[in-house]
Homo-oligomer: 237 residues x 2
DNA sequence: ATCTTAGTTTGGTCCTACCAAAAATGGAGA
DNA sequence: TCTCCATTTTTGGTAGGACCAAACTAAGAT
């Protein structure tokens, strides 16, 4: 539904062009990574003016199907989850104007990760556990360096998103990281806080290893709630 | 990160225009719902050619900040979650070319809803329960009409997404509905299946009312797994 | 084979022009 | 005074041409 209304939408010369290019990209007729044909060639192919071709390229570019750097030949991109996230990013940013919106986004993250740690507690493999341990070790090693710690912190949570073996989740994680980061980096960091988070991660892993989803969820939740509280007080003070 | 590279991206006349219009929309200087100034006025305001103005409008339109129907004046849209979902829709569609992708998306839906029913079992209010009951009643009333039942089915799950009181979730629900629908409507429907689903919904509600998150999750999961299995067999047969 | 350089392609931007549909206008009729 | 219809004006959509500077190519020099 929605958008395939042929009724009200009479014309728009660029639409057929967009559709066909889109199809050619997805079908592989336009090879991924290869440059798009020159605009002047496309206008001959489609029998359209350069204006129209150009409009189509812009649209496809905004959808992530074409990567167009300023003065270079546009490059065909068969989209993956990351591409989509990237293209979606600018759109989502517009939503995060009020702190309420950021809170909603953060809450959804907490919701997701609660599910993730439950899942982890139930199904984590030896490899998953090993990954988590490695990530936590990296946490510990970076406690004294807040910038580095942030990286390892993100990485730890990233491991959680990879456990379900569904590429959508890592993409979501990238989204959260990128979208929340701007509202995050005002947060005060300190070795003390880093150590706190490190221990929280340890506790989460512990619950996962004991195959206790309720405990894992509880620890994760209090961990993330504390983080938010920290940010919130930073905002309002 | 990503995209604010001032390094490689030399110029692009439309970018400042996009940025300023974006800011004016978000700040409310350009009133939500009001028509955008005429292109010829904008080119005077920004001292840019119509080409550039037009490019900016297209870009903003693709981002959902402007709603431009074919021959009408573009309308300013201060984006809400729904707008974002709409704008994201076309992008996401490109990912769902293979059934594996659809499966991934569906799995993520199951993941989310498992969390939702747990949440419901723990925190659902009287009103939530009432909404669920009403939705289920609508299910029952529509059992004989598969088209109508589908609507009420979606509506039932929609109630779950509203329980956390976070506008992001209903938006996600809309996304799932819209994105999965095309791959869904090939599914065979029948009053028998409708009745099955109706009973599953009843069971979910039952578990929620008994405040038993594990049971609620289990019932929900088997409900959705069965639905997928049904679709899958339809595909491969 | 590598570097330099002259020539060609190509995207970015501006401009002019025209059309058809929308919106604004204004007047006729109730 | 209000409604409705016809006319004018505005406005978005598309076409085509022109020019520039940067990117690309190919030929020639080292």
């Amino acid at each position: 539904m929605t958008d395939i209304h042929l009724d009200s939408a009479k014309s728009r010369a660029a639409d057929p062009v967009i559709a066909q290019l889109e199809q050619q990209i997805l079908s592989g007729k336009l090879v991924n990574g290869a440059p798009l044909p020159a605009e002047r060639d496309l206008m001959e192919d489609f029998g359209a003016s350069r204006t129209v071709i150009r409009e189509a390229i812009i649209a496809l570019s905004n959808r992530g199907l074409i990567e167009s750097k300023p003065r270079y030949r546009p490059i065909v991109r068969k989209p993956d989850y990351e591409t989509v996230l990237n293209a979606t990013g600018k759109i989502v940013q517009n939503l995060l104007t009020e702190t309420g919106d950021v809170k909603n986004l953060y809450d959804s993250r907490v919701f997701i990760e609660r599910g993730l740690v439950r899942e982890a507690a139930l199904t984590a493999t030896k490899d998953n556990i090993a990954d988590l341990k490695a990530a936590i070790a990296a946490n510990e090693a970076a406690i004294s360096n807040s910038v580095a710690f942030y990286e390892t912190d993100v990485a730890f949570h990233g491991v959680l998103y990879r456990i379900p073996n569904n590429p959508i989740f890592p993409a979501i994680h990238m989204g959260y990281t990128a979208w929340l980061a701007p509202h995050w980096d005002k947060m005060l960091r300190s070795p003390e806080r880093n150590e706190l988070n490190f221990h929280a991660h340890e506790a989460i892993l512990g619950a996962i290893m004991e195959r206790d989803p309720d405990a894992a969820e509880a620890v994760l939740k209090s961990h993330l709630d504390a983080a938010w509280e920290h940010v919130r007080t930073t905002f309002t003070s």
